[in-house]
């Protein structure tokens, strides 16, 4: 039976261009995977109407949101709200992973009361340290690489059937590995390594979930 996966990928500022790059690999991989049907809403198409239409039409079991967020909402193109308390019931019976700031804190809890199986996200701001000379080409930004690895660890773990709890555990291990092993003075021209380690520790601390720990895709 084909599993249904929905991803949103806005790209209209530096922050979303990094998240867009982070999710490039999983998007390409799943387009070649026969037993998973991927619906990818991209760029200026990431608006509330398209998102709601996709949820209604596809009823995806796994939803991966990339974008800005706050405690009450996740955003699409040009900061348009695509998910909040008024439509989160459309995510019922699904697992949502929101790679966005803050949304787990309030929206994640509401999602569960509205019927979602699980909601994974961050209880605070999602931090990242960028190489200022690479912001126009995120895929070449070495500073962003450990953040990309951790985010990919989470979505890969979920896509390939790990439980929510196990996926969180694997991702936290990836954060810990990066904190311990990242960087040397040779590849740190701006002295960013201590700051990168701090930001990784921040994301490690505030990554969490609401809902069923044993749920899987």
């Amino acid at each position: 039976m084909t599993k249904k996966f929905l991803i949103t990928r806005p790209k209209y500022d530096i922050a979303t261009s990094y998240l867009y790059d982070f999710s490039e690999g999983i998007t390409k991989l799943l387009r070649k995977t026969k037993d998973i049907h991927i619906t990818s809403i991209e760029l200026s198409d990431v608006n509330r109407k398209n998102f709601e239409n996709a949820l209604n039409k596809e009823t995806p079991k796994l939803i991966f949101l990339n974008g800005h967020g706050d405690r009450n909402s996740v955003l699409g193109h040009q900061d348009a709200v695509i998910l909040d308390k008024n439509n989160v019931k459309l995510a019922k019976d699904s697992i949502t992973y929101a790679l966005a700031c803050d949304s787990l804190e309030d929206l994640g809890k509401i999602a569960i009361t509205e019927g979602a199986i699980a909601y994974i996200g961050y209880r605070a701001k999602f931090m990242i340290v960028r190489d200022p000379s690479r912001t126009s080409s995120p895929s070449k930004d070495k500073n962003a690489l450990p953040f990309k690895k951790a985010c990919n660890s989470m979505i890969n773990a979920l896509v390939f059937g790990n439980t929510v709890e196990k996926s969180i555990e694997l991702t936290k291990k990836e954060y810990v590995h990066s904190i311990k092993s990242y960087g040397t003075s040779k590849d740190d021209p701006y002295g960013d390594v201590p700051l990168i380690r701090f930001a990784l520790a921040w994301d490690l601390e505030f990554l969490d979930f609401e809902g069923n720990p044993n749920a899987s895709f």
Binding site: D13, H68, I128, I179, Y190, G191, L195, R197
Partner: protein, 67 residues
């Protein structure tokens, strides 16, 4: 303020003061915060500053566990 927090706060401040004060972290949305501003938050002991102390101490604990 308990003594334990004060010690941790001083430790975190001393570490941040060794960094380039203009280095930036993106903290979501369209915001960036410099090391100088991180230090200000820690010094003022606001909610963000207290979380900075908590996370920095956790990071040091992770590093102390070895590779």
């Amino acid at each position: 303020m308990n003594e334990n927090f004060s010690i941790k706060k001083e430790l975190v401040l001393e570490r941040f003061k060794t960094l380039n004060p203009e280095s930036k972290i993106s903290i979501g949305g369209h915001k960036e915060v410099t090391v100088r501003e991180l230090i200000q938050h820690v010094e003022s002991e606001d909610e963000f500053g207290r979380n900075i102390v908590k996370v920095q101490i956790k990071m040091l604990q992770v590093l102390a566990q070895g590779v």
